[in-house]
């Protein structure tokens, strides 16, 4: 607490406030710092576009990472096959967009596009969720409580799932058509005096909106509903949740299914964003996903969200400033944060 002490100058007061802020809200401090430094390093219009794009990328990464952080938080299960669910979602989404719903996809009308996109996203979630259910029961359940076996078994499961995707849809890259109305960009000329003209890709705006909506929904469930209280309690102390009469295994299965479905949703979005998908795309994304959940603090939904935003932003900022450093930026961010706060940005305290 900073107190109004006359012998202390305004600088000391501000310093105290800053110190308190960095220990209370490290995620906001880091996010602010990154936005500010990037603002100094480039012209305002570029900064604005990169920021919005970075946040769009971040929210898509958040969709993919949120399930993994919750399964780890709730049951200490390390599911390294999570990436396979991302790929699975991307393929199901792509098949829906090109196959039965192809007519609606190419139409330039947003209304018809939505008739393709919504079922595609829903199917991606449903298929990933159902496969997640089977995966939990068959692969994960026998290895509760043993991290080494979890790593071995889920890496194996991941290989099997990815091979199944290749068997089903082929080993080649598949182009994903972006829906007609979401192609191209919004062009705004002389929008704001400081920023000037802007070119914003439409799809990124949609991805950002969807990501924020899902985050909002998840926060509502976690903060306001009984199910959310139960999940938070389970992350903190599993045994005590059982002692209160709840079947933690069932709760975990539900969370695992939801997490797999979200990975599928994120994969489908990512496929439309990149416009090309491979069976291995999920594995490639797992590096970012793992960095995000470690950054944010294992098991923390808020931490996961801010971690994802930071990873998305630093990717685009560094990619613009010095493209050769883009690959190390993500890992560098994680190393930096862990040196500063080894427990992650918003840690979950476990008993």
């Amino acid at each position: 607490m900073s107190q109004a002490n006359p012998s202390v100058g305004p600088w000391a007061l501000w310093r105290d406030r800053l110190l308190k802020l960095q220990s209370d809200k490290p995620h906001l401090v880091l996010l602010g710092l990154m936005l500010f430094l990037a603002f100094l390093a480039m012209d305002p219009a570029t900064w604005f576009v990169l920021t919005i794009s970075g946040m769009a990328m971040g929210t898509m990464l958040f969709l993919m990472a949120s399930g993994m952080t919750l399964t780890f938080g709730l049951m200490s299960v390390l599911n390294l096959a999570h990436g396979a669910f991302i790929s699975l979602g991307a393929f199901v989404g792509a098949v829906m967009l090109t196959g039965a719903l192809g007519v609606y996809t190419v139409s330039p009308s947003l209304g018809w596009n939505l008739l393709a996109i919504l079922p595609a996203l829903f199917a991606a979630m449903a298929v990933a969720g159902v496969v997640g259910w089977l995966f939990e029961v068959i692969v994960i359940k026998p290895v509760y409580g043993d991290h080494l076996k979890q790593i071995l078994v889920t890496v194996g499961g991941s290989i099997v799932l990815i091979q199944l995707i290749e068997v089903t849809w082929g080993a080649n890259e598949i182009p994903v058509p972006r829906p007609g109305a979401l192609r191209g960009a919004f062009v705004i000329e002389d929008w704001v005096p400081l920023i000037g003209g802007l070119v914003m890709e439409k799809f990124r705006m949609v991805a950002l909106l969807l990501g924020l909506t899902v985050y909002g929904l998840m926060l509502w469930v976690i903060d306001r509903t009984r199910l959310g209280i139960l999940v938070r309690a389970g992350v903190e102390n599993r045994e005590m949740v059982e002692i209160q009469g709840y079947r933690i295994g069932l709760l975990f299965l539900g969370v695992f299914i939801a997490g797999s479905a979200l990975a599928g949703l994120g994969g489908a979005m990512w496929g439309m964003y990149r416009e090309i998908i491979t069976a291995h795309m999920g594995e490639e994304l797992m590096i970012s996903v793992i960095v995000i959940i470690i950054l944010g603090g294992l098991g923390s939904i808020r931490g996961c969200f801010y971690g994802a935003l930071l990873v998305g932003l630093i990717n685009l900022y560094i990619g613009y400033i010095e493209p050769r450093l883009a690959a190390v930026a993500t890992v560098g961010l994680m190393v930096g944060v862990l040196m500063w706060r080894p427990q992650g940005l918003i840690p979950v305290i476990k008993v």
Partner: protein, 241 residues
Amino acid sequence: MSEPILTLTGVHADIDQYHILHGIELQVPRGELTVLLGRNGAGKSTTLRTIMGLTKVPRGSVTFNGKEITSWSTSRIARAGIAFVPENMGIFGQLTVRENLVLAGTHGPLDQSRLDWLFDLFPPLKKFWDRPAGNLSGGQKQMLAIARAMVEPRDLLLVDEPTKGLAPAIIDDLATAFEELKAREVSILLVEQNFSFSRRLGQTVAVMNDGQVVHSGTMAELAQDSTLQQDLLGLGLGAHQ
């Protein structure tokens, strides 16, 4: 006397490679407060955990309300009507006091009159209603832990060393709460090292040593017989030194 609410017959239990319980024989009379005494390491906490299904029972049987619950899962045992307050209290520190209690009410929304009764017993719970339970003091956490077990009517309460590390004034508050519960004829099995606290509350008593019940009877009998106290509990003190 009616049939006991809980009966343990020849219960054995292991933790890892250690054999902790060697054939426990224990009866908890319905509507009474039973105190389980004994020195550290005698197996009191393990007995409670075993009843709750948290420790596997390779031999013996646990019967609750006439039903054999030995192999039931913990959550099923809880839903059958046993509440358990473990030694570390098991408070969810990141949840608010309210959320801790909401979670304990497994049958839907909390009953306001029961909640008011709990607030009367433990005023700090009302004061810190929307604060994270992790910020409560040790005594307040214990109040919350017991309130959580009482927020809905339960047939049997298992409480593990509620007075441990608490100030005398707070221990007094807890004793009052237990007396209220006794007045409502809730069956309670209490593990306690604090003999004056357990003498004040206990109606029946069982003393454990080395994973077995070595004495059981009424508290009045044990409270009056100082030789018996010396034998059963002094022996425990001697073993400490």
